[in-house]
Symmetry: C2
DNA sequence: CGTCTTATTGAGCATATGCTCAATAACGAG
DNA sequence: CTCGTTATTGAGCATATGCTCAATAAGACG
């Protein structure tokens, strides 16, 4: 079936479409080429999922499939790099300090933090790749959840405890209702992204405003839930 | 495609010595067989996504791949049937009446409704297939969102308006903050399922309790948001 | 048991897909 | 310009995958 040179040449006579060789910015330095492949792969896999073909990816990158394999030993390895790049490289190191800076009112800290943090899950690439990875059973999601738990959930619950006059998390372990509060907020935020990038239905016209409304509701709910579940001896 | 009668007839050795049929699939009636294939496909596609192979599906069903194509003309058609079965056949016709039955307190109605409704998106098959479909760009999600909007979002907002003394939705159009409230609740619920079936991280030990906490928070937030955004002339 | 209907099978086809490798050509050094 | 290094290419391989069809055999009925 390979012996069909006639149909082959008939199909590919020349460059009928755009960018076949126009973007022939050929012969880049390995570092730069690898970087381009990585960034292109992020976009590509976000769009097509990890079952997208390497042929098509190479075509979109304007390079040959062979070149792909010079920089990444396998499709699997490429995907692993995509995970690293998308999820672990975009974590702002200042968030934690901002969240726990008691010179500012907590509600204000929460609003500014989530206004910034929400950009991650609301980003096209981030959200879709996160879902594809999870559905494929990749471990990256669990790793990310652990990160969020340590650097967001725990600190925020700690600050809320302090705000509402309950014992700190070191003295009174974090409860399930408190954790559910956090999950609920993050779920609502992520769902805004899902509406946009997965369901393709109308998202809020004012995303920042929607996030702020979510944070305000969260703050009030937190107060109520903590009072209802931590009150017995929980008060300082 | 059929124009290849070259050495076709030559190679037909026919191996009738097949004792390999250990799992002898027994001759079911077409209706029953189709039903089994459909149910098996739901489980299979929920697990592997729609890029799962028909060969493997047939194997899991204990039948040959050929039989699959006797009952469903193509993989695509099968998937379409899966959508129908999962999303449109499981909608309870009594929900709407329950939600608007003003003989019962609204908060109670909401709790019982969501305790029941949440079973859908929290189900393994439902949640994962919904995500796979959305990521693949299927239109079923938009269809489902429209359904939820008409039969849940609008009625609930209407009841909340009545509960808190604002003008009905026929007189004062539903606002974006109100819709966001609904989305937020549904997002939080769906996210519980995602934790279980997609991220494989710890889900609440008491799901029903978590749902109830969500509904309570939702009710309070709704009151606050409506008061903040509908007050000017909105009051009855 | 024999016969007929049809549910069921699996080899096979055409194409898709991850990956290899010998050949090619772009850039820099001399 | 010449030459050497190496980024880049694309035909090609091995296997995967949706789907077809002639052959098979499991029941129903006499």
């Amino acid at each position: 079936m390979k012996t069909s040179p006639k149909s082959k040449s008939a199909k590919r006579p020349a460059q009928p479409l755009l960018a076949t060789k126009l973007t022939a910015a050929k012969r880049l330095t390995p570092t730069l080429r690898a970087e381009r492949i990585l960034q292109g792969s992020i976009r590509f896999f976000a769009e097509h999922g990890f079952s997208g073909q390497t042929r098509e990816l190479a075509h979109e990158l304007g390079i040959s499939k062979g070149l792909l394999y010079r920089y990444f030993p396998s499709k699997e390895a490429l995907i692993e790099r995509v995970y690293q790049e998308v999820f672990l490289r975009r974590w702002s190191p200042t968030w934690q300090a901002e969240l726990t800076d008691r010179n500012r009112p907590l509600i204000e800290r929460l609003k500014t933090f989530y206004a910034d943090y929400a950009k991650l899950p609301l980003e096209y690439e981030w959200g879709r790749i996160y879902l594809f990875a999870g559905l494929a059973g990749a471990s990256i999601n669990r790793r990310y959840v652990r990160l969020a738990n340590e650097r967001i959930f725990k600190p925020v619950i700690g600050e809320l405890r302090h705000e509402f006059g309950f014992r700190p998390t070191e003295k009174l372990a974090i409860t399930e209702p408190e954790l559910e509060l956090m999950w609920s907020l993050h779920g609502s935020i992520f769902y805004i992204g899902m509406r946009k990038w997965v369901y393709h239905v109308k998202a809020p016209s004012d995303v920042d405003g929607a996030i702020e409304q979510l944070v305000e509701g969260f703050y009030i709910n937190a107060k109520n839930v903590m009072r209802a579940t931590l009150s017995h001896g929980g008060k300082t």
